[in-house]
């Protein structure tokens, strides 16, 4: 290990090229190659390391390149301009100013715990992770009792990042206490929300943080087998994780007698196949077992009867990536970030009509206004902000007047939104709220598993009503139908998908009812999204 450190320190510069799914489609691999060639051409390959890294976070101006020391962030790098960066910055020590990303509030208000290593380490090298203190949490916990590890988790106040916000320490206690064996862990990386890419980014940038989190959890609850359930649409994340698992096995961090202790844990990947509902905790179990991803009623809870009816801990990967930090630094340290009831940070995929879209990580308790206007840089093209959708397709649409609420599980639920998997979509004045609610309803209609009446038949009828309203055939009684069926779908559905699916309808009805009335009574859509076929007829 000392040798490795020496090897790392020998470099004066480190050029980190973001090779995540956000940047690769836009030529990141060519940029990487160009850097490798250029450092050789200028003969600086001994003092300048070129590394492929995970997401740096500025996905809208990719390919992104980070030069250390000094954290110089270059945006929209093309292979043609790579020589210039190497010549001026590395050889002459003069950063190429016109290509630098302006470090405004985008980074200032962020707090990177989960994404601590994103863009800084080469995710394909376990040594890079270890050099950053990685697997230190595992080492530390192996010298402690499982109960002490759980106590640390409880002290941290960490809550599940998958959406519902269940206290993690409490969940671990339940599985640890369950009598049956063997016990399983399932890491949820089935990020099915359209517009959300935080979990993928994490897996691509720092796969070992997920593996270490799972190891610590396994030790605490007494599990010997784990699965990472990942979307098959994420090839790069799959590759990265496969490599990371192989490396961890080679270093006896996975398998029998881990680090020469009696502790053993085996890890496998399982692939999703395009079903949003598979992210639901009982549906994911059915899917790992090779069945249709249909949720089942709880109780029994997975903590007692999960995979193959055995006690199972299901945890989102973002939650897991927090664990090593908590064990290393202590629960009390972790609880200092965020709010008392909602500690730590949360990753959000910030997209839509916003100047700086990308993957962000902010402390819990930050206001929506800060996220949209400071981190996100506000709405582009001088347009007016209209609403922000928080929590993915089953989140809530919140108006300007609610932008000052703090982001935490409970405050969001109070106003009709959810944390969900961390999608924030900004809508400007060109968006029609009726059309937006229709879009998300259609998404949920397509993704409903079909098991229970409210979600299967109810959402389909909501979709019909939206079709009517947006085609000019709406009646005022349709609003009552929307309201009544929405509350039945929310209260009567079997799983979280159905229970949250009407959120966009409920919140747009609550905060933007005048737009519905305008559509129904005046047959008018100010945003020009609805009455399309009608509109064209009129023009002709």
């Amino acid at each position: 290990m000392a040798q490795e450190l020496e090897f790392q320190n020998a470099y004066k510069y480190r050029i980190n090229v973001c090779c995540s799914s956000g940047c690769v489609p836009f030529g990141a691999l060519k940029v990487l190659k160009a850097f490798e060639d250029a450092v050789k051409e200028f003969g600086v390959e001994k003092e300048c390391k070129v590394a492929r890294t995970g997401c740096i976070g500025t996905c809208s101006v990719g390919p992104a390149v980070l030069v250390e020391p000094g954290d110089y962030l270059y945006q929209s790098v093309t292979p043609e301009r790579v020589r210039e960066i190497v010549r001026d910055h590395i050889v002459l020590g003069l950063p190429v100013k016109d290509m630098l990303y302006e470090r405004n509030a985008y980074f200032k208000k962020q707090h990177r715990l989960v994404l601590r290593n994103a863009g800084k380490i080469d995710p394909s090298r376990i040594q890079d992770y270890i050099n950053m203190g990685g697997y230190g949490g595992l080492l530390k916990c192996l010298t402690d009792t499982p109960q002490a590890v759980i106590n640390e988790l409880i002290a941290s106040g960490l809550r599940g990042r998958g959406g519902a916000g269940f206290p993690t320490g409490q969940k671990w206690s339940l599985v640890a206490r369950a009598q049956n064996s063997p016990k399983y862990i399932v890491a949820n990386l089935d990020e099915g929300d359209p517009g959300v890419f935080a979990n993928r980014t994490l897996a691509e940038a720092d796969p070992h943080a997920i593996i270490e989190g799972m190891l610590i959890a396994a030790y605490a609850i007494g599990a010997e087998k784990g699965y990472i359930y990942i979307r098959s649409e994420y090839p790069l994340a799959i590759q990265t994780l496969q490599k990371a698992i192989a490396q961890a096995k080679a270093m006896t961090l996975l398998g029998e007698s881990i680090l020469e202790t009696p502790f053993k844990f085996d890890l496998e990947l399982r692939f999703g196949a395009g079903a949003f509902v598979a992210g639901e905790e009982t549906a994911i179990l059915a899917s790992v077992e090779g069945k249709r991803a249909m949720p089942r009623p709880r109780p029994p809870y997975p903590a007692n009867s999960g995979l193959w009816q055995k006690p199972t801990l299901i945890q989102n990967v973002e939650t897991l990536a927090n664990i090593p930090l908590i064990i290393q630094n202590g629960g009390a340290w972790f609880a200092k970030t965020g709010t008392p009831k909602c500690t730590g940070t949360k990753c959000f995929s910030l997209t839509g009509k916003v100047n700086n879209p990308g993957l962000i990580e902010v402390p819990m308790g930050i206001t929506l206004r800060e996220v949209v206007f400071d981190v996100g840089g506000g709405v582009p093209d001088g347009k007016k902000f209209k609403a922000v959708l928080v929590g993915g397709p089953s989140g809530g649409c919140l108006p300007d007047t609610l932008l000052d609420i703090p982001i935490d599980y409970d405050s969001l639920v109070k106003v009709g939104a959810i944390m969900g998997s961390g999608g924030i979509v900004v809508l400007d004045e060109d968006s029609c709220m009726v059309d937006t609610a229709r879009f998300f309803t259609e998404f949920c209609v397509d993704e409903s598993c079909g098991k229970c009446t409210p979600c299967r038949a109810g959402l389909a009828r909501l979709k019909d009503v939206f079709g009517k309203i947006t085609n000019g055939a709406g009646e005022m009684s349709d609003i009552t139908t929307l309201e009544k069926s929405s509350s039945f779908i929310r209260d009567g559905s079997l799983c979280g998908l159905g229970q949250t699916a009407p959120n966009p309808v409920i919140t747009t009805l609550r905060y933007f009812k005048d737009e519905y009335i305008q559509h129904i009574v005046e047959k008018r859509c100010d945003a020009g999204k609805c009455f399309k076929s009608r509109g064209e007829e009129e023009i002709e």
Partner: protein
Amino acid sequence: MSTNTVKLKIDGVDVTAAEGTTILKAAKDVGIIIPTLCSLEGLTAYGGCRLCLVEVSGTPKLFPACTTPIGPGMDVTTQSDKLKEYRKIAVQLLLAERTHICSVCVADDHCELQAMANQLGVDHVMFERNWSREEIDSTHDFLVIDRNRCILCTRCIRVCDQIEGVHTLDLKLRGKDSQVIMDLDEKWGNSCSCTSCRKCAKVCPVGAIYVEGEPIEHTKKRDVAEFIVERRNRK
């Protein structure tokens, strides 16, 4: 099995029942009938139709009585304005989802959906009806499936798998597009695994699966699963 008993209240009535009993069963034992459609004794519980939702004091959540085990000290309400309203909406949704026309249905007067609508006082359907045209398959010698009348309760699938043991039937696709299929979505007449045992027709709550030419009251024996399970358990 554990013989521990649990004490609880259902609609104000004190109930004692064995640990692990469902709310549905515990209520039935004291004469409180909770509305159901997908549930059928002798088959595993499904929890899909949502007719049997009940309130449990202390939580705003609703629980399906067919899958929720009783707990000590539970205070269950099976009838309330909200539950009545929701049950009516559920039935209306099922009626609007596919093409249900009682007057031309083989199961008219022997239909659990129709009976449920009457019992709950559903006198109109507030939704636009879907009037879908689903496939009717009459290629089998005597069994017919009319998917226009199917409410996706999966009783047929469960009885085929759990009682007859052949698992000819299953669901294809998902959500509103879900359909009951035979084998690899074959015509019933071509099914390689169907034993023509008719149990699917017997337990179907509506007129979706029936025996051609046979009076419906002869076909429908919805207690067949319970009966077989009891016989099998006899020592």
